[in-house]
Symmetry: D3
Subunit: 330 residues, 6 copies
Amino acid sequence: MQTIQHRHETNIYGEIKLFAGTACPQLAKRIADYLKVPLSGRDVTLFSNDNIWVRLHKSVRGQDVFVIQTTSTPVHRNLMELLIMLQTMRLDSAGRITAVVPYLCYARSDKKDKPRVPITARLVADMIEIAGADRYMTLDLHAGQIQGFFSIPGDVLTAFHLLTDYVKKLLPELKDPVVVAADLGFAKKGRNFAATIDAPIAFIEKRRIGGYDQPEAVSIIGNVNDRDVIIVDDEVDTAGSVSQAVKLVKANGARQVNLVTVHPVLSAPAVERLSALPLSQIITTDTIPIPPEKSELLGGKLKVLSVAPLLGEVIRRAHEGRSVGELFDE
Amino acid sequence: MQTIQHRHETNIYGEIKLFAGTACPQLAKRIADYLKVPLSGRDVTLFSNDNIWVRLHKSVRGQDVFVIQTTSTPVHRNLMELLIMLQTMRLDSAGRITAVVPYLCYARSDKKDKPRVPITARLVADMIEIAGADRYMTLDLHAGQIQGFFSIPGDVLTAFHLLTDYVKKLLPELKDPVVVAADLGFAKKGRNFAATIDAPIAFIEKRRIGGYDQPEAVSIIGNVNDRDVIIVDDEVDTAGSVSQAVKLVKANGARQVNLVTVHPVLSAPAVERLSALPLSQIITTDTIPIPPEKSELLGGKLKVLSVAPLLGEVIRRAHEGRSVGELFDE
Amino acid sequence: MQTIQHRHETNIYGEIKLFAGTACPQLAKRIADYLKVPLSGRDVTLFSNDNIWVRLHKSVRGQDVFVIQTTSTPVHRNLMELLIMLQTMRLDSAGRITAVVPYLCYARSDKKDKPRVPITARLVADMIEIAGADRYMTLDLHAGQIQGFFSIPGDVLTAFHLLTDYVKKLLPELKDPVVVAADLGFAKKGRNFAATIDAPIAFIEKRRIGGYDQPEAVSIIGNVNDRDVIIVDDEVDTAGSVSQAVKLVKANGARQVNLVTVHPVLSAPAVERLSALPLSQIITTDTIPIPPEKSELLGGKLKVLSVAPLLGEVIRRAHEGRSVGELFDE
Amino acid sequence: MQTIQHRHETNIYGEIKLFAGTACPQLAKRIADYLKVPLSGRDVTLFSNDNIWVRLHKSVRGQDVFVIQTTSTPVHRNLMELLIMLQTMRLDSAGRITAVVPYLCYARSDKKDKPRVPITARLVADMIEIAGADRYMTLDLHAGQIQGFFSIPGDVLTAFHLLTDYVKKLLPELKDPVVVAADLGFAKKGRNFAATIDAPIAFIEKRRIGGYDQPEAVSIIGNVNDRDVIIVDDEVDTAGSVSQAVKLVKANGARQVNLVTVHPVLSAPAVERLSALPLSQIITTDTIPIPPEKSELLGGKLKVLSVAPLLGEVIRRAHEGRSVGELFDE
Amino acid sequence: MQTIQHRHETNIYGEIKLFAGTACPQLAKRIADYLKVPLSGRDVTLFSNDNIWVRLHKSVRGQDVFVIQTTSTPVHRNLMELLIMLQTMRLDSAGRITAVVPYLCYARSDKKDKPRVPITARLVADMIEIAGADRYMTLDLHAGQIQGFFSIPGDVLTAFHLLTDYVKKLLPELKDPVVVAADLGFAKKGRNFAATIDAPIAFIEKRRIGGYDQPEAVSIIGNVNDRDVIIVDDEVDTAGSVSQAVKLVKANGARQVNLVTVHPVLSAPAVERLSALPLSQIITTDTIPIPPEKSELLGGKLKVLSVAPLLGEVIRRAHEGRSVGELFDE
Amino acid sequence: MQTIQHRHETNIYGEIKLFAGTACPQLAKRIADYLKVPLSGRDVTLFSNDNIWVRLHKSVRGQDVFVIQTTSTPVHRNLMELLIMLQTMRLDSAGRITAVVPYLCYARSDKKDKPRVPITARLVADMIEIAGADRYMTLDLHAGQIQGFFSIPGDVLTAFHLLTDYVKKLLPELKDPVVVAADLGFAKKGRNFAATIDAPIAFIEKRRIGGYDQPEAVSIIGNVNDRDVIIVDDEVDTAGSVSQAVKLVKANGARQVNLVTVHPVLSAPAVERLSALPLSQIITTDTIPIPPEKSELLGGKLKVLSVAPLLGEVIRRAHEGRSVGELFDE
């Protein structure tokens, strides 16, 4: 016991040190609890001129530092705080620095799908590297290819097992469940979800009529009639697509409708929309904190599963130089 | 006329110079013809020790060089030849160097979808950059995100319009056409194809049963019964998926079946499979040369559309500093 | 005339193109007017998930692009917008990209003056470079050494002449003017200011008593008794130092007190403080826009000089490959 | 004993891990045997589209990885396999990665000896670095200067001692031995060889008559008459130079002729040529595997010395942070 | 005891190894004595063609190397020797390399204060990085911002406490001491010095009259009449400013005058000037060696405090991964 | 004429600008004369603290700058001056910067021929790149492979034709001329020299007896008896090898002895040695200036050929984007 305890505290990368930014303090606390390693002290000050200032309470020289910071709203402030913390660690001669970013912002800006636009996800990856991260850790990227935007190694984890395990427990109560991918970009992952819970899959198809305006024609491919539906997507932003999907499956004869999503972005009208929809459950994770006023509106429908044990375990293994793939029998 | 002629010959990037590797000489020739600019002379020697040696006939100092080389089989020889040519241009002080790679190899190795595997597409991007390319040009990447693997700018073009225009002309002869995406990873692009030719879409779903073996359960989502089918995919490699798809749509009542794909990779058993299938047409492009012995086997079914005018026009615009997006009304 | 007109439109770096972010639209407009070159069209969208999206209306291939964006509050949003615009230009194959940042944020975080803190100004410089800027342009950096944080070349301009020229015109009305540097870090530049307007200099000295708390003991070194005072500093943030300075010079017998500063940061309590102080004039520039509600509070005291002709002239010279130093007889 | 055993298994660079590509499996096995460390499991798959895919059986996080892969024919496939393996190690967060390349390809393309040609050896060095190697290890580079093409540190070893020790044992049987350098570029190393075995040196001189064609006039400088000759060169490719040299020394009165070379490249006509020549012994190493059909043709003449103990010992010392120079009393 | 002993000898960065260049052998020896770690052997040869050649006596593979070399006159030879030593360590696969540069040359060339001049301090920082330093250590940079010129982390120490502690002991003998900053660029640090010894501060102000010639008008701001003066500056080069300052304070009624400076550059006329001035004490450090002929001229006035314990302690802490800030209660 | 004149003044790289460091002012002047382009004004100041300071008289924004500076003794001062000039050009936004270094220092430190030594030539290449050179130009590198140390392109020229043309004119007066390579490392180039003037070749062989001391046994391979000898080497440093060679060829019956070398390094005892040797002619170039006191000692024996027309012509062609290879019919 003593040995193992010691093992994850000193190591070829130095001692493990956990730092949290201000974006997801509860998740950071849960990870620390899982690891039985306290969060290290740091001051993060936001001056009246909108500048952030960071100071570490103790030196991280030669230590194995993990900076936990999600990059949800306010996105730019949270991102900059992450970058400043990473640079501070580097300038203080940390042994190794891992950026732990449960939700990576700008992941949807991942290609030039039309001319003269940015690929902001690559910019974000570059910024994380230039600030000083030696490694990164994140969950369920919008596109797996974003891994290739980094030249540093990383652990791109998934809450997939967490979510499918939860849904599997619900199955006895569901009648003829069918998984519905709310977006064709999620078709392949939706299929995997369906296969894991041994259910069929259906797709929502949207077609633009004319220029760059909103999608207009929406149809469903596959059968949802008289079935319990599980709508899946990687993130729920304004809940526009989800609204369309719920209405469409209902119009096509669906019974109970559930929503499963990893990242609860829940921008502006999302909570209003979701609370108005005939949803049985909204199953999601804590990669992004849901403020109390929002979670209250969603009430009993909302089920938040914590990714802390997953992140904690991977941090431990990364620190100890042990396989992460093993965790998933891979 | 004289002015325009002059314009694409001298320029802020110097004079336009086209070089071709040995991988797609005919396509290179077609591009040169389109541009009315001759291919510049170079020796490419393959020594008996398997080493490639390149020598340019004339200097490219301060010139705007385009190196045309596709990276189909033999992949590594072709890739290395491209890299050596790029370095030769750089060492000879070219003004600007663009790698024109109609088919970019290793694009399917674009993410770590399981632990302990490479992301070879990123490696290839890095190699093209380190060899000396200032820009790159390619067509229909397997995943648009691969653009973000490059830190140099590039033009990622699409043969989409070429193919849809061709298919649109066939439509009067087709009965109730339906587009079928042979792979769920192509779902979104398949939908766009279908929308452009104003046809419905259906999907082939494959599920693995058990470990990392071949997909086993295959089903179709959407309706193909008594319809003329257009199977679409970005590339056809061994034609395994296509075979499955054709058999499945036939089993589900499809009438005539056509295949549309950008990149005719046509590895090992592909040609045998395709020639044995009840396909009406195989519509593809010349991003990869199809050797005569293969095209003969496919016979009259095969329709190869040339991407040369597209690449030529974009090379011209890149050289002249004019918009490429305009070409597509974007 | 025609020739000159043409000259600053096409060039070895391509055509001049001005783009503005959303942070200082009026200054950008003034620069454009000075140059008689219109601001190029772009969409900058802020989505409800706090993400910024940029799209250029026309291609900038091979052109000489200047992106004008100040980085005042909201600092992180403005900075990110700048970076995204820079990357968009790069990915669209601009010929040369210059970041024009009238006020560079985080310039006060320019060294580790205590352990375990960041040097955020270096991080910002790195971010501007990695996003794609080939050059940068800014005014009156807090410390000139920040030039060395960039590895790209830049033009670090100064509003010094603009401000001293203005103050020189006031001199006939002033009695025994004395320049007072509000901070010892500005001692050398304060001395230069004083020398240029041919006035003596005095200094405010602050001493901490005890730990890292607020400065407490404040004294004046030099003579201000019965003199008209010109307090100078590079920026006015919360106006705390200025308040102390004004009170101190008044307590030491100063007559009329004026404030001269390049960058009107004017955070939270600044405007309230300044409007309450016995200041005759507040002379500053438009490197940071002062919102109407603030300028109204400051009323007739406030004199904003525009840096647009200076930036415009330097952009022109940078584009034409002409000396900027000449502008200042250097 | 236990301590030593432990020492080369865990270390400041983590545990030692040996991986072999597919190019020199026997040499890799011999190194592993020398080190008493097993080769780690990996899958290397060559798909029908000519793409290579790699998967490690176990994680290498934080470990000290050595990837053994020679880059002989098929050169590009072997090189790419090396690069992909290196990247896979890097993405799996290896602690340190050393590319062990017994024979480094393209080492003869090491300078621009005429205009408009590549320096492919530099390109190869860059590729090895960009793929993720932290260090490299190789033997007898064609030119020692190639060390300077890498910015990572490396161990460039020599089989010199192995070969001279072997030849020294033959000396009692040789009459008036003389060393002959088959190429003037090998003059200095040939002299060192001769000095070590305490024999005189002679040189083959070739002169081109006219343009870039084959060398035509060949002469010998120094005395070989009635002497036993040892022809030395760093590698034997097509054996063209060796053939000339053997014929020339024979024509000048040489008795027995032996050939000593580090790298048995043995391209196309080499084996035929060598087997037809009046050579007593061909002494070489296993930096490049000689396939059975070739070694059979050469029969009893061929003596292959293994570099495995040398590479093994240097890997051990590199892992343990001990001097390699000591090995050679340097 | 044994444990501690062991601790600073082997470590996650390997064993501690001290190397000295030829620029400050005595300081290097004092640091070695403090650490009880011998200086490692190396040959540094200066050939007759002015080239430097370095050879390490033993390997530094995997070790934690500190290269001690100041960059005083002959500046370029000393700098190049430092760079060559750093590269030698890197090529010999050192585990970590720290450049310990007590006095960093070119620190006054830290910004473009006029057009068309270099920022040589940034160039020096880049050269130290490219040569192979992973970290750097120096004392009292002319401007703290130079830290931001490095992208590697560093420890920028200060002899401030050493000097103020020494001066504090002199205080009982001084009458109404006042600190005088010899240059306005040192105003802030001069104020800190004064605050620490609890004395008032005064400033020397110099004004240029006309172009880029020497400063001409010199005045004092603050009161020195009938007081004992402590002139402070970061370095004394030709002692021109100090001469002016001493004369000016004397002319303004100063009693005894002392000089405190970190870096005794003492170029050409400095020693003559200083020995002629009415100075009571010249208090400095050994960041730069003062040759005997110079120290004799300065005689009893000269007090050199050694920075060896400070550097030694920080090297120890850097090696052990312990906080340096703690040393100063920060 | 007017057109050509104009052509080498404005260009896609801007206007041609020549700058000279202080190391080879006469050669720089000769190049300027050849090009009919004046040397641009710059101040190079050496301060009493041994620091160099540079200021350009006029801006080089957007211009095509060539900095001419050889790196002979004082090597480090000359090298640093080159680097500072390069950085100054870069910071002043030059369009393109070429370092013209007729003699590149440290070229003999080009590989690790024993453990624990530097490869200083690579370090020098890195320094030239980091300082800001976009291209380099030099003559007769000690090893052609040094080209591969640079990642920027360059023109590595040769004075070979200049020297062989000169020697060819001497041939009618020589009896049975034979070329002797003074060092085996120059064997191949010596052979080329001999072939070009259609003479046989002989070699000096030196063997160390024992450790790392001076070479001791010296012999000649080939025939020099009763022949006029032309000793060739790339540079003459202390003239130790040359002395040995002259004595040896004389002892072996040589008649008249001439020395041909590109770079007259002429360190410490060289001039004394050379003036004492029975040499008929010493034929060299002006890549390194020979101070009058040295050239007087060598008197009429010394023949210095200027490389200025060669460098001038290549600068012109590089500027105009024309082939350099053409110059040599390559």
